[in-house]
Symmetry: D2
Subunit: 383 residues, 4 copies
Amino acid sequence: MNRKIRMGMVGGGRGAFIGGVHRMAAALDGEIELVCGAFSSDPERSKASGEDLYLPANRVYPNYEAMIVGEKGLPENERMDFVAIVTPNHMHYGPARMALENGFHVVCDKPLAFNMQEALELAGLVKETGLLFALTHNYTGYPMVKQAKTMIANGELGKIRKVVVEYPQGWLSTRIEESEQKQASWRTDPKKSGIAGAMGDIGTHAENLAEYVTGLQIKTLCADLSTFVEGRALDDDGNVLLRFDNGAKGVLHASQICAGEENNLNLRVWGEKGGIEWRQMEPNTLIVKWLDKPAQILRPGVGALSPQATAHTRLPGGHPEGYLEAFANIYRNVAVCLRARLNGEAVDPLFQDFPSVKDGVRGMKFIEKVVESSGSEQKWIAF
Amino acid sequence: MNRKIRMGMVGGGRGAFIGGVHRMAAALDGEIELVCGAFSSDPERSKASGEDLYLPANRVYPNYEAMIVGEKGLPENERMDFVAIVTPNHMHYGPARMALENGFHVVCDKPLAFNMQEALELAGLVKETGLLFALTHNYTGYPMVKQAKTMIANGELGKIRKVVVEYPQGWLSTRIEESEQKQASWRTDPKKSGIAGAMGDIGTHAENLAEYVTGLQIKTLCADLSTFVEGRALDDDGNVLLRFDNGAKGVLHASQICAGEENNLNLRVWGEKGGIEWRQMEPNTLIVKWLDKPAQILRPGVGALSPQATAHTRLPGGHPEGYLEAFANIYRNVAVCLRARLNGEAVDPLFQDFPSVKDGVRGMKFIEKVVESSGSEQKWIAF
Amino acid sequence: MNRKIRMGMVGGGRGAFIGGVHRMAAALDGEIELVCGAFSSDPERSKASGEDLYLPANRVYPNYEAMIVGEKGLPENERMDFVAIVTPNHMHYGPARMALENGFHVVCDKPLAFNMQEALELAGLVKETGLLFALTHNYTGYPMVKQAKTMIANGELGKIRKVVVEYPQGWLSTRIEESEQKQASWRTDPKKSGIAGAMGDIGTHAENLAEYVTGLQIKTLCADLSTFVEGRALDDDGNVLLRFDNGAKGVLHASQICAGEENNLNLRVWGEKGGIEWRQMEPNTLIVKWLDKPAQILRPGVGALSPQATAHTRLPGGHPEGYLEAFANIYRNVAVCLRARLNGEAVDPLFQDFPSVKDGVRGMKFIEKVVESSGSEQKWIAF
Amino acid sequence: MNRKIRMGMVGGGRGAFIGGVHRMAAALDGEIELVCGAFSSDPERSKASGEDLYLPANRVYPNYEAMIVGEKGLPENERMDFVAIVTPNHMHYGPARMALENGFHVVCDKPLAFNMQEALELAGLVKETGLLFALTHNYTGYPMVKQAKTMIANGELGKIRKVVVEYPQGWLSTRIEESEQKQASWRTDPKKSGIAGAMGDIGTHAENLAEYVTGLQIKTLCADLSTFVEGRALDDDGNVLLRFDNGAKGVLHASQICAGEENNLNLRVWGEKGGIEWRQMEPNTLIVKWLDKPAQILRPGVGALSPQATAHTRLPGGHPEGYLEAFANIYRNVAVCLRARLNGEAVDPLFQDFPSVKDGVRGMKFIEKVVESSGSEQKWIAF
């Protein structure tokens, strides 16, 4: 099979943010082409968006149902291979379910679904159909995140004792959802976002990053969620004590009211022999601290990094890769796995590395548990 | 009165760490001279230490009782003005009490005492005698800490919403108290340190820094203390959720098992309009982030800082001052206040700024409450 | 015209580095599609490379001559719009000339040509044909570089006094050109690289960046080039004193033997009122220092940046964009200008911003003059 | 001999800057006491300054001649051991000469003298008398500077190839010497400062630092000095190409018109195997970069540093030491050497490490040569 992998998109029309990110990420490595879309629930907006993207009119659909039906009706050598779902949370389940039921692989934005029931149904469908399902917890796509994960898995830091993961943002410091800010408005609306605000939007990224890098699972937690901006219906800040399954302790805090913060996701992990420190805003630097030796600055392309880091780096040292490249690593890995499946070939495990529906279920559980804990007088809630 | 202020020292003999720090801090500004000492509970060691410091033999005492009695017997124009107490925690109360009862002012290392009862007695004595009592929560002596405090007090960040204070160290990652490490050995010994380990040693610094800078008080807390190093009797790590009296939320974590960390005390505070970030290891930089404006890098000597920051800066911009200079700011302020008192003069409020016995009581309460919370199934413990 | 702009590529086959960069940069924004290529001077390698890229066999050519002829013979609604030339220096002139002579627009890697004569001929042809010609001095594509340029142009720093531009790399610290390192081997070969090594490869980037940001021109210079690695034919290091046309002074140094350096291009400019500092390896931060005010940290998406910076930013604050995104800004601007031309529309000046053949001539002159100066006993050489 | 070393001071009265620095540096380690002074050429100001410092009136002299005569007349067990000279450049020679001629050791601020002739005379006198003479090139007192020097001397970086030393300041960006700024006024006055402005004041620090750390000597140079501020008589900026005696090349630039810069002395050195980077404004960090390994962050108190670094560190890792501590290292070493000499004991070579009159002569030569080069059309001037 010598062709690009074909992507259809649900959501991401004019005025959307994350849809464009998915398209750039998918395009970057030249392995995927966008062939069709249902870019908006408003058919006119969907059509105009398709024109912006230079798609032929007959591949721009008025809604996702039409797209899935229409594409299924095309000859195999034309129709899309997978669907990218880039809608708000409450609109993940419908297209994901229908895509899976009709034999299309899925890439879905996070969190997985609107609530736990939807999440579990999707997980069941993925298992049943055997189709690929990738969830874009994109921060795990960074090479230095993979380097950290590999070092910890290899025992280089010794047994892990402490984990601190932070995700401060400041953009919801005022009630901008009252203005026309589309991103703010659905994220603060319980009908679209679900039972959590900041915890669902970015807390899940923090939870996913911590578990991905450490290979540990949160066992119990104690959360204190807040809504600082008056009139807002969902949490815009949260602090959580963590206990992991190996006995490690930790802290997770995420916020959208830390005025002046951009997108400051960061992770620190300490083991018996040393620690790592990674900050998303300068993602090409991984600081490794050692018990009795000078700290090291690990960087893509410098010295002997892990195969996992190297396989997710495109450029020589000192040529910074960023958010889109990390995001693109998920799409590239999906493309590699999909191509191998279509060709009936095996896949190098290095490229089987992308967040799955299981990560999605775990994220939904995190949302459920921090909300439960925050409303409880009980100190520890089992995860 | 045209002479230096005269200091006597209890503790700080050969092999000690913090005693030397106090002596350098006291000497730096040329306002204080060391005139006598009881440097060790071992009279021989005390004598030898006095010789190291070029003190006349008759001003080197075998113990603090002898010193206080001896100095009191000297003519007023010779005897020490104040006592610096630089012993382990369980040895603060005795000399502090006796000094106060004999009319000597006191500078005491932190935490204030071995337990709350001692702390309250000392606070009572200070009130009763009207003598000066300074507690060396030295990190509040940094000019950029004072700048942050002043900006917050002036409302420049708006109402405070979130506080994150961290104090990771790594030096107790292994059981070095089993070797001859004197600093480690008393700090991990409940008979010398009190009911807390890391929380007493450095957690109190974090608590003090957060309350000093924000002007807020912790109202309730929820703590999870751990002992990671096997065989150790006291906590070497702790994570604490905080709720402040104005409704702000926060996190405090302190640890001595974060392998590879040096002395990484740091504070971030966010209000409605912006936030500040200060890191002790690069103490001359205060990052101020704003809701809708570029962040600023505030530095001593650059632009118009607050009078509070300027009064605690010795050098022009770009000439880094460090730990000893911050520590010396406490001694300098004590000297200024003491001189004014001896001269019957008023003191500029800028120099009345040093931690007091009240801060000490609050620190002891913090220790008591985090230990209580950590052992409790109740989520929130009132401070 | 509702279609993507069509690109043909010369060079960039299997084993090449910069060709892949150009393809990713061109693909990122969804405005350009690769439709054909002559990827290698070895026809078999060209064919295989075309297959890697999922191109139809009939659009993969054995050499650039065949490509230009072949594409010209295609119907207008199929053939490529422009040629991207990504070969070593000595192979720029041939395809560039032929492309221009046959009515194809050109994007060419830097430096412009093998020598000044070639450069001037190309400049003449561009003028004559009126075709678009973009040179990929990609570092000028970063949003914070554009922010700095705009601030200086607006007089915010006052009259410029001093410029320091550095480009240290370390990858040629040993004679890796003797191994199979393809990138090293042509860059150190005078038959392929021209009269300069490091100065041509990266010194020209530094020169271009300094002149682009300041709006000034180097008037005279004094250079000291070195070859540190024994047996190498071209310079691998150079230090240059600069005098600019407005009276500003400066320093440029570039090196490929600074062991341990990655790709550390950086620029500092000081004027009467303040200065800027930008480092390519953390490209989303622009430090602005002021005479009597705290320094500021300017970042994409934070506060009110210039329209020039904003027009070249894709993501919200804190979502790092890197080397490929800056490179893609050149391709995006070329696409915008080309589309406007094809549609007979005007172009917003914000998007007319990419390095041109004039920058290329200036770069060639820089190479010529630093080599001349380095061999001369005369202190100042006119640029 | 069990007493402190006794210091007399020339200069440093009310309103002076560097005198206070010397006093704090001398006091810090408790090895030196200030016993007398001639603090100003104005006897009244000298007297008042002595009172500020709590000196007895009979040890405060109206001028340095009186001080040297007066102290010489005191019993040996009372009189000063050495003189600290902290006057402007044109006032170094007189007191230094008279001190040496009368048997007093000397600590002198830099540059050594007003001109080369004075410098050579002082060097002759030091040789002749055998007295100690320390020059306060204080930046060499930092522990991480000593670490860098030791690593290079041990060959850890391989043969040195490139040196970049920078010293940008911004405080003379405007003509503040016209106001009452005392520091600015003598530094810009050729009658007090000598033939150079910025090059004498800070360029010599940069030259000294580069030669100290590398162990190399500048062999030839090519300088371009400027006076940017209208009406100023001396250079306020300079850029210099350097060639070292081992074949290494380099750049030195220093400026006092880099608006917004504080005191940004920094040094980078690259050898065949790696490079070091040190910045005075964050002096406790030494970045070591390696050819094929991750960079390291060396910090005082972390891991196994050189004995040279450790011997000049007072505090555990993460307790920042700064400018005064580095300055104090010079005084401490002088005290150790002086005490050993007075006691007839040998000195550990670790403590014989302070800048000498030879460094002073070299600094004067640097001033002479950069001024000569800047005025010459000849490209290279032998150092």
